[in-house]
Symmetry: C2
Subunit: 343 residues, 2 copies
């Protein structure tokens, strides 16, 4: 038996939740230098302080309401750099294409990447194309790696303190649910679209108050719940959020009810969650709301000391949801695979 | 009909040869900033002059004589940076794994990457894992992107001049033929193994004479023939090579005869070809031969003015092979797909 609990790779190992964490800890962490579960690595190269990140995109279908795999592969990596408070500069693009993939679809995806790069202000400067036999891939997979300029701001969930405030930049969960709905042939009125967009502009708008930001993340795979659980575990504190304050678009709620999904675990690709110092929370909210991608920013909760919880020895690393009904619910990481291949 | 001549992606579009060139020119070049067909992009980030590159690895089988996909994914990217005269520093690693892939194989591959990174002196600092459903991938695909420190040396095939000399660092074609032989269940005595190894040490040893190097490349997909054809086309000159001087290991020749393959088009993953100024060729050969990975370095040809050739208006961009039999043969890029999925 393997230390990570499974002798074969499961879909859930790529879900962003607890299985992926066990894979990272059991397989990758010892071999590579990814000590913290951050979206970007901070590196020093040639005297420059840079952020470096990578993501492979295997979303199915490749065209979905609100975007496509090309745009997603650009904004996904731009956003991973952005939430590290880095300014995205350069991207690489690696394509793995299944034999027989329509050339027009490839062209459409590449054009979409090109437009996305212009919109986000980054340059795609190097690339690679591999083709695999029919049946050995699934249309197209795209990897992007990104390099950003990292300023003095050093964010980490270990910097979180009791009393801090949790902010989201807008509705969460739209991307994952839009992809799943498309895959299931569901349509909504008003239409349910991915929130896919670049976050570097919003983050730049927040930088006048950068010293008040403890950590940021774009809650993709595993959703808001998994991101907050990671923050709570890394800080050893307890995070308390209020369900009534967490913004989801009505079609996201509707689709989740229909499909039996929890929107707290659904991916966003154009929202960020930040834990910030309480004394600057309102200033940051003003900065965020003044940016087109942050108009609906709001506080959804706060951080507490992890004193002993009822029935347990400690509340370290807990996330507590105050439900609309007035109760409390413990939030864990995504277990297994709720939504495979949403990015 | 699409401008790049096919309405669906073919295996040959990933082969490194003429179809891939038409795909790059017809689809990627206009959309991205990959103006030259170089293995690495040169970028300026935070005041530092860096090289940036990416490669996806889809080799089948993932374990082959002389290495595995993990090692290949590290050395492949290390070598792309090295032949740009950059010092490889940091790598990212993106995994796309098919559901059901044995966890022990994953662990073995990851350990192999870790050892390869140590051997090449690079750090794997950021990563990503995606899992696709059984039948939607093929075991494991790995993308690596790499960042290197680029010195003052600026290499380009456009710097090639008539009179220059063509050097290879050792036997070529072993990697591609070893993978194909393994796939076909062929064994050889002595065994045929991939030449997979990091080239940054060898390139570092050549740097005392860096000003004499016009361009370097590790001839992977498409082999030595395709690399030289690219050099000839970019420079507008003619390259003449002598078959008798091109080193192939005996089992490579044997396997090629058996399989009907041309070793000139077979990939190397641990050899480099350099075009150098004639006055420093012997000094460079001395430097290369003093390094463990360059002991068998030799001159295989030279560059000529592209005067009018017999029967054609011009000889610009031609590669001429002087055969062992005393004749001449025009060398073109790899057409279609000789060896799919060898890297």
């Amino acid at each position: 038996m393997n230390p990570h609990g499974a002798d074969r790779v499961l879909l859930g190992h790529g879900s962003g939740g607890s299985l992926m964490h066990s894979l990272i800890e059991g397989c990758f962490a010892g071999a590579f230098e990814m000590r913290e579960l951050l979206d970007s690595a901070l590196i020093e190269a040639g005297g420059a302080r840079l952020a470096f990140t990578t993501d492979s995109f295997v979303v199915s279908p490749v065209f979905f309401p609100g975007g496509d795999i090309g745009e997603l592969s650009v904004y996904g990596t731009v956003n991973d750099l952005s939430v590290a408070a880095a300014e995205p500069l350069f991207l690489s693009a690696g394509f793995i294409i299944e034999e027989g993939f329509p050339m027009d679809d490839l062209k459409r995806i590449v054009d979409s990447m090109s437009r996305a790069a212009v919109r986000a202000g980054v340059r795609i400067v190097t690339g690679d194309t591999k083709v695999v036999e029919k049946g050995k891939g699934d249309g197209i997979f795209i990897n992007t790696a990104g390099i950003g300029f990292a300023g003095a701001t050093d964010l980490s969930p270990r910097k979180i303190r009791a009393g801090d405030v949790v902010i989201v930049s807008g509705e969460v969960g739209s991307h994952g649910i839009a992809v799943i709905a498309e895959r299931n042939g569901l349509t909504f009125d008003p239409p349910l679209k991915s929130d896919l967009k670049p976050l570097n502009g919003l983050v730049k708008a927040m930088m006048p108050c950068s010293e008040g930001i403890r950590v940021m993340r774009d809650p993709t795979r595993g959703g808001l719940a998994t991101t907050l659980k990671e923050f709570a575990m890394a800080s050893g504190l307890r995070i308390r959020i209020r369900e009534s304050e967490i913004p989801h678009l009505p079609p996201v709620r509707g689709a989740c009810e229909l499909l039996g999904l929890d929107p707290l675990y659904a991916a966003s690709e154009g929202a960020l969650v930040a834990v910030v110092r309480p004394d600057v929370a309102n200033y940051l909210l003003d900065l965020m709301r003044a940016h087109e991608h942050g108009t609906r920013s709001r506080i959804i909760g706060s951080v507490e000391e992890a004193g002993p919880a009822a029935g347990t020895a400690t509340a370290k690393g807990q996330v507590v949801l105050e439900t609309m009904a007035g109760g409390e619910r413990m939030i864990d990481m995504l277990q297994g695979q709720q939504l495979p291949r949403i990015c």
